[in-house]
Amino acid sequence: MKTYATNIVICGVGGQGIILASNVLCYAAFLEGLDVKKSEVHGMAQRGGSVITHVRFGEKIYSPLIEQGKGDVILSFEKLEALRYIHYLKKNGITIVNDRKIPPMSVLTGTVSYPAKIETKLKKYGKTFFIDAAKIALNLGNIRVVNIILLGVLSNFLNFKQKSWEQAIRQNVKTKFVDLNITAFNRGKNITTT
């Protein structure tokens, strides 16, 4: 993939650690000497609602928002959310999906049903990878590192130096969790994505 003008959509459910993941990605891109912009929303939108963060980096970035159909990668922390934002993906782009189903309240109360065959639907848009990040996270003893595992998977599609990623993690997580997160990152990175 080109190392300039790259658009990454990170989406999922409020509370899944999406903003932290986008901060690490942003910082890593900064350490790579690129122009970086990121946009996110706070407040009401975060309380278990659908969340989308835009990260863009390259030689010169104007808008912090990614245009529909221009996303290089969609990194989704939840299956339904991948489908919600799939129109951001460019033709033959890459989708990395945490293999997790979180039913929204409308599904819990039985008003609507959770969409079936999300895998098939997503595959129509481009190359799709489903990652059981929760399994890896629980293996490492902390469910909260799902976000960094997924970032590790994403790293396979970006030409950033390992040093940049590690420093970006150090910059953004509490000292006592740095080692755990770097391990989580590497576990994600080692997942085959060819």
Binding site: E40, M44, S50, V107, T109, V112
Partner: protein, 583 residues
């Protein structure tokens, strides 16, 4: 040195670099992180004020004393602070005064989409509109300079996509400013009619000077491209327009009131066609059209919602419009968190079928299904007064079915005046204060009820019940909302009481306490009746296992906080406590 900063972090940094001495705010998305970041700079005295009017008056006082001062608020916060804002426009400043308004196009976390650029015109004060974090920092600093140079408050107008977008920012050192000290000047600061009449003349003269300044202000600038198309824009819209019209000539306005009329005319003469790309109302468009310049604006670009590259593109291309077809996907609205102490109160309100006069905070989410327990939400504090007004229109019997609901932080913000008003005017108000010891929605800021100050140090705690008592309320009860029976009894007693009754539901926000072990469902006992789904807890869902005739409720152990509210609604004792589960 360069680093990554959000717009809000950049404003905080700009205030520090500019030598600001005093800052105050009431939290409100998307402005909250400005103060949260200013507290990192010990040189600036910083406080969470009780509301935006108070915040602005506090910093106005600091400015009278000759200090550089900054108040930050969300767009609707400036409505609350409008009273001092307008008159400070007359008084002018001694130390520089910057007022930050963070607008929320798209209403990501707001009750309306007002365009606060109108306030600058209304109050006749200059306004700066940064288009990224770098400019947010720079314009904060320039704001103080313009404020002192022209003896005026300066409005710094941000929007969600400035506040919560991050980019690379150049850092500079702090330039210390001497606090000028207080010198009595009643003609300037004591706005009785005789003085204000004189000040109004000065305000109009000041505007003329600012108009000249706007012409030479270096950040009102032309970027020449092809002369067939000229774009006039400001703020975040500039960034979007640069991507949609990469070859066009741009007039990027940063000091957008007063507008640089001659610069605009010069630009207009050189380009063939002009599009005004602005988010929100046709503010620039109206003024530019008044100059007799033909432009394309809001007849193409939408008034409602936030702009994006896509929105601008589809405004000018039918082809692009057709492309945006999407799959139908279930909405995922925000919800009360698992373990949220508000849940029990709304469950009972729904059960009793009460009319609920609501307010602004996390608890506004009680309006959504399945709790569906809120009828109104206007502005901070309106729960109390709306309920009082309903009673005055429909009588005492109606008020037996009405509760007003607001949070502890909102109570201090603007609930107290409404409460005193109801007591004084012989109301039959039933007020429920949901006291979770924090300002939760904006990310847990302290308030007088917590006694903590902006930097975390201990201040004086004001228990809400003491305020309620001080307002003359005779019926006050404090209840833990995690107990449904007690909650129901207390609400019923409140409704029966003649006069103003206040119930304080006290339990800390679920995000502030360590979760307890998760509950689980006994599949033998669960008959799939769905009663537990009525509390609207995101941790409980229904599954349809193939080997069962009836559906089965399931608790997500990663989400459950062990509050146990669901056990109180299950008729079959199918929800098992963790200690039972272990045996």
């Amino acid at each position: 040195m360069k680093t990554l900063l959000s717009g809000n972090e950049a404003v905080a940094r700009g205030a520090w670099e500019a030598g600001c001495h005093v800052a105050a705010a009431y939290p409100g998305t998307p402005s909250t992180e400005i103060i949260e970041n200013i507290v990192k700079y010990p040189e600036i005295y910083t406080e969470w004020a009780i509301n935006e009017k108070v915040a602005l008056e506090v910093v106005a006082g600091a400015c009278f004393a000759g200090a550089r001062a900054l108040a930050a608020m969300k767009h609707v916060g400036l409505n609350v602070a409008a009273d001092p804002f307008f008159t400070m426009g007359y008084s002018g400043v001694t130390g520089g005064l910057v007022i930050v308004s963070a607008d929320d196009p798209g209403m990501w976390s707001s009750q309306n989409e007002q365009d606060n650029r109108h306030y600058a015109r209304h109050a006749k004060v200059p306004i700066l509109e940064p288009s990224d974090s770098n400019e947010a920092k720079l314009f904060t600093k320039l704001g103080f300079e313009i404020s002192e140079k022209f003896d005026t408050p300066v409005l710094l107008r941000l929007t969600t996509r400035i506040c919560h977008s991050t980019c690379l920012v150049d850092l500079q050192k702090r330039k210390e400013q001497k606090i000028k000290g207080y010198v009595k000047d009643i003609k300037k600061r004591l706005m009785l009619p005789a003085h204000a009449r004189l000040r109004h003349i000065i305000v109009e003269e000041r505007l003329k000077k600012l108009e000249k300044f706007s012409e030479v202000f270096p950040y009102n600038k032309i970027e020449w491209g092809k002369k067939t198309l000229g774009i006039i824009t400001s703020g975040i819209a500039y960034q979007y327009a640069k991507e949609v019209f990469p070859d066009a000539s741009f007039l990027k306005l940063s000091l957008t009131y007063p507008i640089p009329k001659n610069l605009i005319k010069r630009f207009a003469r050189k380009v063939k066609r002009i599009i005004i790309v602005e988010e929100g109302d046709p503010v620039l468009e109206t003024e530019i059209k008044a100059l007799g310049i033909k432009v394309i604006g809001k007849e193409k670009i939408p008034l409602c919602g936030e702009l994006t590259q896509n929105v601008i593109r589809t405004s000018f291309s039918r082809k692009a419009k057709a492309k945006t077809k999407k799959d139908k996907i279930p909405a995922r609205l925000p919800v009360l968190c698992p373990g949220c102490p508000h849940r029990g109160v709304f469950y009972i309100i729904n059960k009793l079928k009460l009319v609920t006069s609501g307010d602004i905070g996390c608890y506004t989410l009680g309006a959504l299904p399945p709790l569906s327990a809120m009828d109104t939400c206007v502005c901070m504090g309106a729960s109390v007064t709306n309920a009082h007004g309903m009673e005055k229109a429909l009588g005492k019997d109606f008020s037996k079915k009405v509760v007003a609901v607001l949070g502890d932080s909102t109570f201090f913000h603007s609930g107290i005046t409404g409460l005193a008003n109801a007591v004084y005017n012989k109301g039959n108000l039933n007020l429920l204060i949901l006291d979770n010891f924090t300002t939760a929605m904006t990310g847990h800021q302290p308030h007088p009820g917590t006694g903590k100050l902006a930097r975390g140090e201990q201040g004086k705690r004001i228990p809400p019940e003491d305020v309620v008592k001080g307002c003359g309320v005779e019926f006050i009860r404090i209840v833990d909302p995690n107990y449904l029976k007690k909650t129901e009894t207390a609400i019923k007693q409140t409704l029966e009481f003649d006069g103003v009754a206040v119930l304080i539901f006290r339990r800390p926000c679920a995000l502030l306490v360590k979760p307890k072990p998760s509950y689980r469902i006994d599949p033998e006992l669960c008959n799939g009746c769905k009663l537990c789904l009525r509390i609207g807890c995101p941790a409980i869902s229904l599954e349809f296992p193939e080997d069962r005739k009836k559906p089965l409720a399931v608790i997500d152990h990663a989400l459950c906080t062990g509050c146990g509210l669901c056990t109180q609604v299950c008729n079959r004792n199918a929800i098992i406590a963790p200690e039972q589960a272990n045996t």
